[in-house]
Amino acid sequence: MILASLRRKLSANVAGGLATALIAGSFVASVLLFMGFDPTSGGRTVKLLDWIDVGGMQIPLALRIDALSLTMMLIVTGIGSLIHLYSIGYMHDDERAPTFFAQLNLFSFAMLMLVMGSNFLITFIGWEGVGLCSYLLIGFWYKTPEYNYAARKAFVMNRIGDVGVVLAMVLLFQRFGTLEYASIMDMASGVNDPLLIAATLFLFIGATGKSAQIPLFTWLPDAMAGPTPVSALIHAATMVTAGIFLTVRSSVLFELAPFTKDIILWIGTATALLAASIGLFQNDIKKVLAYSTVSQLGYMFVALGLGSYSAAMFHVTTHAFFKALLFLGAGSVIHALGGEQDIRKMGGLKGHIKITYFTFLVGTAAIAGLPLLSGFFSKDLILAFAFQRSPVIFGLLLFGALLTTFYMFRLLFLVFYGTYRGKAHPHESPLTMTIPLMVLAVLSVVGGLLNLPHLFGGHEPMKHYLETAAAGIGYEHLELSALTEIILMGITTTLVGFVIYVAYGRFVKTTTLEGEEATMPVFKRLIAQRWRIDELYRALFEKPYAWLSTNLLAVAEKKVMVPLMNGVGDAAIRVGDVVRRVQTGNASFHLLAMLCGLILFLVITLMSN
């Protein structure tokens, strides 16, 4: 298959080119597969070899090609190719570029494994694999301790999620005796079993880890330590959507566990709002995008929680387009400024780097959900579903969307408008970097067509396509009247427009920069400090853990366990020391002792007689 070629490690200077060619090749292969695939057939499984086969457990190393995996493959390889291309320019000066490309390719392999696996365990291979690559790439510049810390944090948080996935798998295996998606989904339909709630909850824990939801989201902003293409590919477009993918994959199970869906809904909403609020006052261009990613992922989970799997996948797709675009654009900006990431030191770049500016504008508009751009369709679909469920959720999500609009435009305005506040001389990026930007910009504009709703004369093609692979989609129903939908869109669009206006007024006309955190009002400072969640986690988990680790060794092990072991021996020796004194060396005493012993034994004998 296409995977074999991806494994190849690259060492030459042309590594970038080769890597790009490889991933582009797999993109072509994916496209060919896509063309040749008949969605009505439901999908097929390609077994590579027996993997685990012991005592009734048969888990083959098999791949599954169906609508869902193909969609994800296209996203992964397509965007992957663009980002590889982009990286050639971006990583041009780094001496370890070959390593970088090797790791990036390894990531693509793992990600493909994740989406193509025909059973949970194969998906888990990819699941952990992308985690490892993420670790490697975040810590790519290994000489900086903070980056290493961020890398470890990402891996460990993912691992915590993985515990959930492992438990879910174990549970499902126990219940169904297999881990094949197809078999489980077949067997599961109609089953009403509290076990499923547990299993889906565990899966969701896994998803919160990988897709950066509350409570395991703090690693994602830190993950921006990696090179920007990595942020774009892994931490925006592909890996973080793995959680959504897994949920859609097991949509049948989630449909049977409404309780889990509610939890997902609320956590998704909370994450969306929390992350959006944090995004408001961040000054690091990549951090803003990172929180925006977390927030958008929250929307996707809301969609999942609402049972609207196609909407989630749709948003995954469009988000992949515009968020990759935004990240690459940000990367281009950073590249242009020679590594500067603080938006307070940017401004007025519109004139210097036109292509970047223009594409970034498209991306911002898309994420804000300006009408007819891709984000508009996907986000509104989610909002519509939310409204159908409850106006409160709709209201909250709408608020989140407005926040998104605000901080994204803040970012746009502060970076590209006004006057330049930095020192480095900005220059436009090379063609290898701008081509991907332009492609992605186009995609961000037209991406909405993929799942054009009926309202706009479409047939929701993506939904119907995916329905063949994820049976859960069959359960979703959007039963709002066209009028309601139009009204909702109207409200949304109006408010978004208003917020953009406000942002314009605040950041273009007056260029309001955030001052030092210390000077902020309390509440604002709290938000600017990311609700102090990192600190909270550090105080709640990291420090006690370190304390525990130190003290288990110092106290439990050295003061209890080891002395306990030695104590028994020492006690024996001490007893020996005492008993030894009987041997006084005095002959008379010896005789007396013998006599006493004799009498004692005599007593024993007579007593037991």
Partner: protein
Amino acid sequence: MSALVLLSVLGVVLLYLGLFSGRGILAPVGILGLLAALVLFAADWHLESTLFGGLVIFDTYARSFSLVLVVVTVLLFLFGMDYYAKVRENVAEHYALMVFSLVGGVLICSFTNLVMLFLGIEILSIPLYILAGGKRDSFRSGEAAFKYFLQGAFASGFLLMGLALIYGATASFDLAAIEAWSAVTANGGNMLFLLGLFLTLAGLAFKVAAVPFHFWSPDVYEGAPTLITAFMSTVVKTAAFAAFYRFIANIQLPGAVENMLVVMTLFTLFLGNIVALRQTQFKRLMAYSSIAHTGFLLLAFLGTDGRTPDVLFYYLGTYALATVGLFIVLTLAKRAALGDENIRIFRGLFRRDPWIAIAAMLMLLSLAGIPLTAGFVAKYRVFVLGIANGFIWTTLFAVLMALVGIYYYILVIREAFTPQDQESKELAVAPINWLVISLCGAGVVALGVWPGLLRI
């Protein structure tokens, strides 16, 4: 039995040789004589010959034990060739007394009459009182002799009292008659018999150094000349156990006495092992280890089992082998360390003489009971007997104490295999000693691998 006569004559001859000629030929003559006795013992193996009007019977049991006694004495005489090389006075007497003591040992292996038991024990012991004080100018040696004598005589009194009471109850000194009597009479019904049995066993327990009749052993082991210590812990111990078992083998022991033996076993196991933990003088350590081994051997006595004599024989034979070798190694190390007997003197033995160190290690491992050495097979069989006879908890205790035992042997091994801090004198190993040590070292392994070689 001509072997007995030969041995007695040998003793006298040795005494006379001491009067007339050099010390050089004493040991060779002694060894020759012993070998001749060996041949006589081994001849007519299956013949049961009686002696002294039935006071003594040489059956397979007696012959086997006698063989071991003689072989070990030969080894000790070989060692003696080097040990007494520089001693001027009384060497002949030493050899002669050892031979006399040996005669006593042979007698108590083969007694069938309590009179002979008593006589044998005294013949065994009285020369030892003298031998223990063999270094006439050494205070320690004198103290050892005195303590040994005093406690020995004291214990003899109890033994005698016991014998007299048994006689009073059964009207016979003959073992077979007593056994028959005990089989007929209800257990424990007869107070005289019970008391007699008790006191006799106490007297015998003194000889095998079982707690609480062990007090002599550490002091005497430490004070006596090394060769004599080796003799005591091998020949004397073996003979005493042979007698002990011969005495109780067929007597229907009252339950009360059996209980007492269990308690004695537990005490002996405990004290021997626990106190040995903190011994730093090697000979004292060996004394306590000897007490500990007494405990294991007593375990084999509990209950009746046809396999017991075999186990006893194997255990004592291999124990003697290891002990003889170790005492020779001690002597060598002690010479290099100018008379010190602390186990520190073994330090660096492996660097100084790897072969001797390895042989010593094997012997220590055998005493500790580590597999592939004879000591393991011996202990293993004892444990099997213990459990087979229903003494599960006693055996468990013995197993635990075996672990404690391993500790102090390991400490000695550790010394031998730790490089020494400062250079000490080279080990001067006479070829004859090297031979004996090698024999012992190889012996414990060979017997551990082919346990069938040593059986009654």
